[in-house]
């Protein structure tokens, strides 16, 4: 049991480090949901099934979904801005 617990703590550390250090935005939702899954595993092996359930529904589903939607929105805004900038510079040239 204890080896399993230490191994999962290691996974938590690795997962958290990945989330904090990853720079690529598009991969974020997946990393976050994996991290959420690891956290809920941790709660499971430390005898906290209530928290594990809470973490799995929020961390592995709810939160990544909102991140996904937010990123999609940011990307669309980005495109819109770029298009606007291009049309602005096009006008200036004229």
């Amino acid at each position: 049991m204890i080896y399993l617990q230490i191994a999962i703590l290691g996974l938590v550390v690795a997962g958290g480090t990945m989330v904090a250090l990853s720079r690529k935005i598009s991969g974020q939702p997946i990393i976050v949901s994996v991290f959420g899954l690891i956290l809920s595993l941790m709660f499971m092996v430390f005898q906290a099934p209530d928290v594990a359930l809470s973490q799995i529904v929020v961390g592995a589903v709810g939160l990544p979904l909102m991140i996904l939607l937010a990123i999609a929105k940011l990307r669309r805004d980005e495109q819109m801005l770029r298009r606007k900038r291009e049309s602005d510079s096009g006008k200036e040239r004229e």
């Binding site: 209530d50 928290v51 359930l53 929020v58 709810g62 979904l65 939607l69 999609a72 929105k73 669309r76």
Partner: protein
């Protein structure tokens, strides 16, 4: 401030924080017996006084129910704040909107897939309701069950797209449910006043252990929390989805 300076400042601080935590390891390195007091007291009171089996739910909805009131209102205001920011307050009716994220945009889901997805909704809702109502018996309760209920709405979106999602989950109604969930908790707390007891006192019959009706007001609080959480997450989903709509370009 230059970034290199910032990092220097941060690393100095981080090194200091590591030292501080090392010095504060006493509860970890030499745990004392006093640390068990609260847990022991709660575990024995849970049964002698409340007839329920999940001690965590007992702490959440009874012993420390007042904390949960506060936590629930954090959720409440965060959801309201997000709605304000994402301009959900405004009425956007009348505009023809196109879902930019439309799942199955090009092909359209086959009927088999749609059926399959929709068939998942009923069990999901049942499961959510089960988790909400069995909080005092098994792991679960309003918080977890509420999120599960909200994911049922997500499945609806995946299967049928935003328009159906919007029609089924009417935004004003969901907002009312959210407010009702928050109000419900407070009102159940006030119920104790009728019996001349302090706020949040568990005044209803406690029922028998291992039964759904055990725990008195706990089940009611769990349900109202479940409503609040489910409605809150659905509203967030709604708001973030709506951000990804764009007016149909006229051609």
């Amino acid at each position: 401030m230059r970034r290199s300076w910032r990092m220097l400042l941060f690393f100095a601080g981080a090194a200091g924080i590591v030292c501080l935590f090392t010095l504060a390891a006493e509860p970890i390195s030499q745990p004392r017996d006093v640390r068990n007091r609260y847990a022991t007291a709660i575990i024995s009171e849970t049964f002698s006084q409340r007839n329920i089996t999940d001690a965590v739910s007992a702490v959440n909805f009874d012993f420390r129910g007042f904390d949960t009131v506060g936590e629930e209102f954090i959720l409440f205001v965060s959801v309201l704040g997000s709605l304000v920011l994402l301009r959900m307050v405004e009425d956007r009716k009348g505009k023809v909107l196109r879902d930019a994220l439309e799942p199955w945009r090009d092909v359209g889901p086959s009927d088999a897939i749609r059926l399959w997805i929709l068939a998942m909704i009923a069990p999901k809702v049942t499961f959510g309701i089960y988790i909400v109502t069995h909080g005092q018996l098994t792991p679960g309760g309003g918080f977890q069950g509420g999120v599960i209920l909200a994911t049922a709405a997500l499945i609806l979106y995946l299967g049928e797209g935003f328009t159906v999602f919007r029609d089924v989950i009417s935004h004003p109604a969901t907002e009312i449910v959210e407010g009702a969930g928050a109000l419900g908790f407070v009102v159940i707390g006030m119920l104790a006043w009728v019996w001349g007891q302090p706020f949040l006192t568990n005044v209803l019959p406690l029922g028998k252990a291992h039964e759904l009706t055990s725990g008195g007001t706990m089940a009611l609080i769990s349900i109202s929390t479940g409503l609040e959480v489910a409605a809150g997450f659905i509203l967030l989903l709604y708001a973030f989805l709506q951000e990804n709509l764009s007016p149909v370009e006229e051609t």
